[in-house]
C-alpha cells in the first residue's frame, strides 16, 4: 500500500554522497604524513581522492602497484563483521585487527579508525558501514579477510542487514564486565536469523572487575553457544587478538561463490564522489570482473564501463580484477546516486544472471518536525538536510509548514537513536541550529466510510499528521505500532522496571535470569510509549545498569483520539496531537500547563484548554496583567528602556496571533520541542 503522505527522499535507495565538511577529519591523518616508514591508510569514506596525498602501505610489499587478487581463491576468503552493544569495544578490536594485518600502522593513535563521523566517535557507536580488506597469514597461506564493519544499533539494522548479506560470519563482542546487554541480544538475532557463523568474543578481560566466566555462562544460557567457543581478549592491550583472526579463518566458512560462474555482484553500499561519480561497494557472488569490463545494473538495465575497481584496506586500493567471493569497490561512470541502488545486482554485459534478492526498504517508525531556528536559515538547513538524507536514505523527508514555526520538514527515522544521531550530525557537521519537535509515531486507521476509502484509494491509511486523523465514526479501528523491547538489568531493579513498563501500557512476554542476578525481560510496548523519555527513565531508575533495545512488532488495534488545544476558544492547529485514550487526560493537562508557563501574561485573561471534540478535558488560566510599567524613567534610563522596548517590538513581529493573543515562538518551542 502506498502512503500518499510520506514521500521518500529520492527513490528508495540512495547511495551515500560525500558532504564536504568531512574533509576536516582528514587532519587526523596529516600528523603522520612526514613519517615515511609507517603511514596511515585511513580511508575516508567521504574523502576526495584528490585530497589524499601519500599512500604507502607498510605491509606485504603492497606499494602502489596493483595486487593480484587471483592469489585469493574463494576458499582463502572470509567475510565477517563485528557486532556489539555500545562501548563493548567493537571499534577498538577493529583497530587491532587492522594493525595486526598491517592495514594500518601500529601506533597509539589508532582510535576507532573506522568510525569517521564525529558523532560515531563521541557516542562510541558506528552509524555507517565500513569495509576493510585484511591480508592474513595462516598456516603458511595468505588469506583475504574482509571486515565489514556495521552499525551497532538495531535502529541501523537496515545497514546491519546490508552488511550481513555480504558476510558469512560475525564476531559477537561482549564486555567482560557488563556482560550481555540488550543490544547484544538484538544483534545476535540479526546474525542468527541470517544463519551466520557466530564467534563470541569476550572483550576487556584486562578490567579489574572483568568476570569472563560469568559472561560465558550468560552466552551459553541466552544464545545456546557452548562456553568453550568464547574467545577471551583485551582489544585494548591486543591480548588474544591474533587468536580471533585464527578463529575467523577456522570457523567462518568461505563464501559460496565460484569463479567459473558468470559475474554477479551485490551492491551493498555506495558513496558519491564529485569527481568520479558513484563509488559502489560490491560483494562478488560469482565470476570475476576487471577494469574495462562492461557491466549492467539489473535494476535499471543500464550498461556501464568499469573505470576503476579495487579493494578497501580500508583506503581505496585499485586492482586489475576482483574475483568471486571478494569484496571491493567499483567505479563505473555512474553519474547519479540513483544509479547505484543498494541491493542492486550487477552482471556482465550480455551475460545476464538472476538478480539477487534486494533489501527491504527501511520503514520510518519515529517522526519529528524539524524547523530552522530562524526562517532566514531555511535554505541553508534545507541543503544540510538534503546532504544528510542523501547519505542516509533511511530518513524519509516530507515538507511541512507550521504556522508557528514556519517552513520545515517532517522527518521519519528508523528509531530514536537514529533520530538523535541525525540531529547531532546536522548540528555538528552543518552547524545548523534547529528546532526538533517531540517525536510521534505513524498510526493507522482502517476506514469504514466508503467515501474516505475512495478518497484514499485504500481501506487502511497511515496517519502521520494529526490534521489527517479521521473521525471515529469513519473508521472501523485505529492501529498503533508496537515494538518488542528487551531490557536487561540486575534483578534489584526488576520491580521498578516492571511498574515502569506497566505504566507504559506494556505487556510482559518473557522473563529470564541470564545469570545469578541479571534478568532479561521482554515486553511488547506501544512504540509511542517509548519514543519520548522511556529510556532516560529506565536509565535513571536503574542507576544506569539497565540496557534497552527494541525491534518492530507490527501494529495492534488501539483506542486513539485526537486532542485539540484552544486559546480562548480558538484551536491552535500545530498543537493538535493523537494519543491513546488512557493518556488523553494527563497529556492534555501537561500541555496546558506547559502553555500556561510559556505564554507571557497579556492584558486580558487567557483560557488554555485541551479538548476532545467538543469536550474540554483540561484547562489552565493565564491571568491578565494588572500592572506592567517601569516605575522610573528619566534621562539616564531612556536608552536602556528604548532598547528593551525595541527588542520586545521585534519579538512581537515573530509572534503568532491566535485570536487576539500573541503567542511567542518560544512558547511553541517549549511545548513542541523534545525535552
Amino acid at each position: 500500500m502506498m502512503n500518499p503522505t510520506v514521500l521518500r527522499s529520492h527513490g528508495l535507495f540512495l547511495p551515500f554522497v560525500k558532504p564536504c565538511p568531512y574533509i576536516k577529519l582528514f587532519r587526523i591523518k596529516r600528523r603522520y604524513q612526514d613519517c615515511t616508514s609507517t603511514c596511515t591508510v585511513i580511508r575516508h569514506r567521504w574523502m576526495r581522492r584528490a585530497s589524499c596525498p601519500v599512500r604507502h602501505f607498510s605491509s606485504n610489499s603492497t606499494k602502489q602497484e596493483s595486487i593480484d587478487m587471483s592469489k585469493f581463491p574463494v576458499e582463502r576468503i572470509r567475510n565477517f563483521s563485528i557486532i556489539a552493544h555500545i562501548d563493548h569495544g567493537k571499534s577498538t578490536l577493529a583497530d587491532r585487527l587492522l594493525e595486526i594485518t598491517g592495514a594500518i600502522a601500529t601506533t597509539a593513535n589508532n582510535k576507532q579508525v573506522l568510525d569517521k563521523l564525529q558523532v560515531e566517535r563521541e557516542r562510541g557507536i558506528t552509524v555507517k558501514a565500513q569495509t576493510a580488506s585484511l591480508f592474513y597469514q595462516h598456516d603458511g597461506q595468505m588469506y583475504l579477510l574482509n571486515l565489514i564493519d556495521t552499525p551497532g544499533h538495531v535502529d541501523f539494522s537496515y545497514e546491519v542487514s546490508r552488511s550481513i548479506s555480504a558476510c558469512q560470519g560475525v564476531l559477537l563482542i561482549v564486555d567482560a564486565n557488563q556482560g550481555i546487554q540488550a543490544q547484544t541480544v538484538a544483534n545476535f538475532y540479526l546474525a542468527f536469523e541470517a544463519q551466520l557463523t557466530i564467534i563470541p568474543v569476550i572483550n576487556k578481560i584486562d578490567l579489574k572487575n572483568a568476570d569472563p566466566e560469568r559472561v560465558e555462562k550468560q552466552i551459553e544460557k541466552v544464545f545456546d553457544i557452548p562456553k568453550e567457543e568464547c574467545i577471551r581478549i583485551s582489544a585494548k592491550l591486543g591480548t588474544n587478538v591474533d587468536q580471533v583472526l585464527q578463529e575467523v579463518v577456522k570457523r567462518i566458512p568461505p563464501p559460496t561463490a565460484r569463479v567459473d560462474d558468470p559475474f554477479k555482484a551485490l551492491v551493498f553500499d555506495s558513496t558519491f564522489d564529485h569527481y568520479r561519480g558513484v563509488v559502489a561497494s560490491v560483494a562478488l557472488f560469482g565470476g570475476q570482473v576487471s577494469k574495462g569490463d562492461k557491466i549492467v545494473s539489473a535494476h535499471l538495465g543500464k550498461t556501464y564501463e568499469i573505470n576503476e575497481l579495487g579493494i578497501l584496506r580500508p583506503d581505496e586500493h585499485p586492482t586489475e580484477t576482483l574475483y568471486a567471493g571478494q569484496v571491493g569497490y567499483v567505479i563505473a561512470g555512474m553519474k547519479e546516486v540513483k544509479e547505484a541502488q543498494i541491493g542492486d545486482t550487477l552482471y556482465l554485459h550480455k551475460q545476464p544472471v538472476e538478480a539477487l534478492p534486494g533489501f527491504k526498504p527501511a520503514k520510518a517508525m519515529v517522526f519529528a518536525g524539524m524547523y530552522p531556528m530562524d526562517q532566514s536559515e531555511y535554505t541553508a538547513l534545507r541543503s544540510a538536510v538534503e546532504k544528510l538524507t542523501l547519505n542516509d536514505s533511511s530518513v524519509s523527508v516530507q515538507k511541512d509548514s507550521s504556522l508557528a514555526l514556519g517552513a520545515g520538514w517532517r522527518l521519519g527515522f528508523l528509531g530514536l537513536l537514529h533520530m538523535e544521531v541525525f540531529n547531532q550530525r546536522l548540528e555538528q557537521e552543518y552547524n545548523a541550529s534547529v528546532i526538533v519537535t517531540a517525536p510521534t509515531v505513524p498510526y493507522k486507521a482502517v476506514l469504514s466510510s466508503a467515501k474516505l476509502i475512495k478518497e484514499h484509494g485504500a481501506e487502511e491509511i497511515t496517519i502521520i499528521n494529526p490534521a489527517q486523523f479521521p473521525e471515529r465514526s469513519q473508521v472501523l479501528e485505529y492501529l498503533e505500532p508496537m515494538v518488542m523491547g528487551t531490557i536487561i538489568a540486575p534483578d534489584d531493579f526488576t520491580g521498578k522496571i516492571m511498574s515502569l513498563c506497566q505504566n507504559r501500557r506494556a505487556v510482559q512476554k518473557n522473563m529470564l535470569y541470564i545469570d545469578d542476578h541479571r534478568v532479561m525481560m521482554k515486553y511488547v510496548f506501544p512504540l509511542n510509549e517509548i519514543v519520548v523519555d522511556f529510556y532516560d527513565q529506565l536509565k535513571s531508575m536503574s542507576s544506569g545498569y539497565a540496557s534497552f533495545d527494541y525491534e518492530g512488532a507490527g501494529y495492534e488495534p488501539a483506542e486513539l483520539i485526537k486532542i485539540d488545544f484552544l486559546l480562548n476558544g480558538r484551536p491552535v492547529e500545530e498543537l493538535a496531537t493523537i494519543v491513546h485514550k488512557e493518556r488523553a487526560y494527563s497529556m492534555g493537562k501537561a500541555i496546558c500547563e506547559r502553555l500556561k508557563d510559556s505564554i507571557p501574561r497579556q492584558m486580558f485573561e487567557i483560557a488554555v484548554q485541551a479538548a476532545i471534540g467538543s469536550k474540554i478535558i483540561a484547562r489552565e488560566t493565564i491571568k491578565a496583567y494588572r500592572k506592567n510599567v517601569l516605575a522610573k524613567c528619566y534621562g539616564g534610563d531612556i536608552t536602556r528602556k528604548m532598547k528593551l522596548l525595541k527588542k520586545q517590538a521585534e519579538g512581537k513581529k515573530k509572534m503568532r496571533r491566535i485570536g487576539n493573543i500573541d503567542v511567542p515562538k518560544d512558547a511553541f518551542i517549549n511545548v513542541l520541542k523534545r525535552k
Binding site: R601, Q602, M603, F604, K623, Y625, R626, K627, N628, V629, L630, A631, K632, C633, Y634, G635, G636, I638, T639, K641, M642, L645, K646, Q648, A649, G651, K652, K653, N660
Partner: protein
C-alpha cells in the same frame, strides 16, 4: 549655518525627498533648538544601598575642588558644543548630590549663567538624602541657587529602610522633610518606594496615608525593581527575602494612586504626583523630548552638537568612572564616552515612549514638532491594535492627541511595543512610497 538651513528649507517644502523630513524637524524645533535642561551627576555615596545599581562610588575622600573644577569645565564645554543659549532647568542627581559642597553647586550654576541664559524662576532641583548632615546643608544649598528639593525618603518604616541599606531612619526623614519645606516651601518632592520585601498592601497604604499630612506638593512613587548584581537581588534569589508578587504590587500601585488622588494630587506621570501644579519641570522635559545636557560621570544627554555642525540630535553618555572622567575632562574639556546619532525615527520613538508616560500624553501640537508630516491619526488611527486598545479603554486617540487612560497607564509597557511597531510600519510604507516617488521622477 542655522540660517542657511532655514532658508534652504523654504525651497524644499512640498517635495518628499529624503532629507526634508529631518531638516523640517530641525526647523520646527527651532523655537526650542537653543534651549535645553541640564543634568549634573554627583557620583559619590556614603554607603551602598542594597537595591541600587546606579552609577555611584563609595569613596572615603573626595577632592571637592577637583570635582568642582571638572563639573564646571564640562558644563562649559558641552554648553559651547551645543550652542544652547537657554537653560530651562537644572537637576543635581546622583549618587548623593547632597554630599557635594554647596559651593560646588553654586560654582556649577554660576558657570551655567555665564554661558547661557537662566531665567530667575528656572527650576533648580537637588536630590537629598534625609540624613542629619543633609538636613544641615539645605539652607546653604538654597543660598547656592537650589530652589527645589527631591528627598529620598523611600520608606517611613525603619525595618524597610534597613533592608534597603539606607543610611537614614524615618525620624531623620521627617526632620529633613520638615526643614526642606521651611527653606523651600511648596517646592519639595519626596520619593517613596513600594513592593519592598515583607511589605503588605495594608502596610503600604498606611504608609502613604501617614505621609500625606507631612509631605509637600510633590510625591514620586517607585516600585522596587530587583537589579541583577545588587545585594538585594541575591537575597531574593536565595530566598532570604521575599518581595510581593505581581498581583500584589499591582494592587499597591493602584491603591496609592487612589489615595493620592483623593488627597488632591494629580498623577501627571506614571510615577509622579503633584498638587498646586508643583510638577517637576525638569523631568517633564525628558518626557516631552526636550534637549538636555548631561554633565558628570555617567550622565546622559540628548542634544544637537551645533558647534560641530551637527543637525541630528545625539544620545550622549559621559564616562562612568569618576577618576577616568576627571582625567578626560582635565585633558579635553569633557568626558563624553559615547555618541549615537538619533535619526528622525529614533527621535520619534523616544517622543512616543516618553510622551505616553504623561497623563496628558502626546498632544497634537507636541507631535507635530517632531513629526510635521504625519499626524497621530495618520500613524496610529488606522491600526486595528490601537483601535482594540481604545475599545478596551486603555488608550485614547482624539483631537487633543494620544494618551493612556487611567487603567492604560498601568499597562503602558504592554502597549508600547505595539505602538513602536505601528510607527515602524508607517515609516516602512512611507519609505516605499518615497522610493516609488523618486523612481517616478527618474
Amino acid at each position: 549655518m542655522k540660517s542657511m538651513c532655514r532658508s534652504s528649507l523654504k525651497h524644499c517644502t512640498g517635495t518628499v525627498a529624503d532629507g526634508v523630513f529631518l531638516r523640517s524637524i530641525a526647523t520646527r524645533l527651532a523655537t526650542h533648538a537653543d534651549e535645553a535642561s541640564l543634568y549634573v551627576h554627583w557620583p559619590y555615596c556614603l554607603k551602598r544601598c542594597s537595591y541600587c545599581n546606579f552609577n555611584k562610588y563609595i569613596s572615603r575622600s573626595q577632592n571637592h575642588n577637583v570635582m568642582t573644577e571638572c563639573l564646571k569645565k564640562e558644563t562649559q564645554t558641552l554648553l559651547q558644543l551645543s550652542q544652547i543659549s537657554r537653560i530651562s532647568s537644572v537637576f543635581f542627581g546622583g549618587g548623593t548630590p547632597s554630599l557635594a559642597q554647596p559651593s560646588t553647586i553654586a560654582a556649577v550654576l554660576e558657570t551655567v549663567s555665564k554661558h547661557a541664559r537662566v531665567s530667575d524662576d528656572a527650576e533648580v532641583t537637588l536630590e537629598v538624602n534625609p540624613t542629619p548632615a543633609g538636613k544641615a546643608c539645605l539652607k546653604d544649598f538654597t543660598l547656592a541657587g537650589v530652589n527645589r528639593f527631591s528627598i529620598g525618603i523611600q520608606s517611613l518604616n525603619d525595618d524597610h529602610l534597613r533592608t534597603l541599606g539606607r543610611d537614614h531612619n524615618s525620624y531623620h526623614a521627617l526632620q529633613t522633610l520638615s526643614e526642606a519645606r521651611t527653606v523651600c516651601p511648596g517646592r519639595v518632592s519626596v520619593d517613596v518606594m513600594f513592593a519592598l520585601p515583607g511589605q503588605s498592601v495594608k502596610s503600604w497604604e498606611s504608609e502613604v496615608k501617614t505621609l500625606l499630612p507631612l509631605c509637600d506638593d510633590h510625591v514620586s512613587l517607585y516600585q522596587l525593581t530587583l537589579e541583577r548584581g545588587t545585594q538585594l537581588f541575591k537575597q531574593v534569589e536565595s530566598g532570604e527575602l521575599r518581595v510581593p508578587g505581581d498581583d500584589v504590587t499591582a494592587v499597591m500601585y493602584q491603591s496609592a494612586r487612589k489615595i493620592l488622588e483623593q488627597a488632591g494630587f494629580l498623577q501627571y506621570e506614571v510615577s509622579n504626583f503633584s498638587r498646586n501644579n508643583a510638577v517637576s519641570k525638569h523631568n517633564l522635559g525628558y518626557w516631552s523630548g526636550q534637549q538636555y545636557i548631561g554633565v558628570g560621570p555617567g550622565a546622559h544627554g540628548r542634544f544637537v552638537p551645533n558647534a560641530l555642525g551637527g543637525v541630528q540630535r545625539e544620545a550622549r553618555t559621559q564616562t562612568l568612572e569618576p577618576d577616568v572622567w576627571i582625567r578626560e575632562v582635565q585633558r579635553q574639556g569633557h568626558g563624553t564616552r559615547r555618541r549615537i546619532q538619533l535619526d528622525p525615527r529614533g527621535l520619534l520613538e523616544e517622543v512616543l515612549v516618553m510622551g505616553l508616560r504623561m497623563n496628558k500624553g502626546i498632544t497634537k501640537q507636541h507631535w507635530k514638532l517632531f513629526s510635521p508630516e504625519a499626524d497621530l491619526y495618520q500613524i496610529f488611527g488606522v491600526s486595528d491594535k490601537v483601535k482594540e486598545y481604545q475599545a478596551e479603554g486603555l488608550l485614547i486617540l482624539d483631537d487633543r492627541g494620544l494618551r493612556c487612560s487611567w487603567e492604560g497607564l498601568a499597562l503602558l509597557d504592554s502597549i508600547l511595543p505595539t505602538m513602536l511597531l505601528e510607527l515602524e510600519m508607517f515609516f516602512e510604507t512611507k519609505g516605499m512610497t518615497r522610493t516609488q516617488h523618486n523612481n517616478r521622477k527618474d
